[in-house]
Every structure is written in structure tokens, then in C-alpha cells.
Symmetry: C2
Subunit: 80 residues, 2 copies
């Protein structure tokens, strides 16, 4: 089973990296741009039969390593 | 309008960062893990009325700055 995990900074946390990308795009002549925030993306493949078990495992990985719960949010989606 | 852009390394490109995450998780005692690949995620907000116009603009941003088309693939999804 394959899952996609998206990790984003919480709404109220400053995102300097996204700001740099935003300013660069504006300097390149892009208009009507309002905001950009950058995050991380993981594609995780696990060898489990049950989806609930697999999701529990992915959630544990997020909490223990992939996500800094103080400043980041995450969403898990099944791909295949 | 808000879009999500996911940038991933192409299937045949080595992903050392994902490999490190994979090995770390295995060392932490996670089993049944098959593979992990890491990518980037952008949330882009544009001030456009038409969805087609907005998507064209986002696509241009990807091609010009956000994505290295030689080694990376990208997908654009409308969030809101």
C-alpha cells in the first residue's frame, strides 16, 4: 500500500523559504500572486494487508520522525 | 484561488534523502516498510477569476522556477 504524506507549517508559523520563492516569482514578473507556503512531501510504501493498520503505522512514523508537531501539520492520503 | 503543487523526483532518479529517512525508520524498529521517496510541496494562492487562467499561471511558475524538469515531475491540484 502506498500513502502520500504532506507536511506543512502551521498557519501562524512564519515560512521564510516560501517568502523567498514568492519574492523571486514576483521579481520574475508574475502578477496576481497572493501567497506561497512551502512544505514537505513523502511517498511511503508499506507492506500491510489492512488499510487501518497501514495508516496507524504511517501516523506513528509521522509523530516519531517526519513531523515536528509543535510547528507543523500533516495529512495522510492513500494513493494505491 | 488556492492550488497545491507536489514536486517529486522522477521514478528512475536516486533519492538519497528518502533513503536516509527509510533507514532511520528501519533502525527505529519500523517493519514492513518498503520504500520512501521525498519531495516538495507548495501551496500557492493566486488572485484570478478563471480556473484555467490560474492553472496556466501555476504551470508557468513550475516550469520557470519551482521544478527541475530534467529530474522532477509535478502535479497541480486545486484546493479552494
Amino acid at each position: 500500500m502506498k500513502f502520500s504524506v504532506t507536511v506543512t507549517l502551521k498557519k501562524d508559523v512564519l515560512d521564510p523559504q516560501g517568502k523567498v520563492v514568492l519574492n523571486t516569482l514576483i521579481n520574475m514578473g508574475m502578477n496576481n500572486l497572493k501567497n506561497i507556503r512551502q512544505g514537505k512531501h513523502f511517498e511511503i510504501e508499506v507492506d500491510e494487508k489492512k488499510q487501518s493498520e497501514a495508516e496507524k503505522k504511517i501516523d506513528e512514523m509521522c509523530k516519531k520522525l517526519l513531523v515536528n508537531l509543535i510547528i507543523e501539520d500533516y495529512t495522510i492520503t492513500k494513493i494505491s
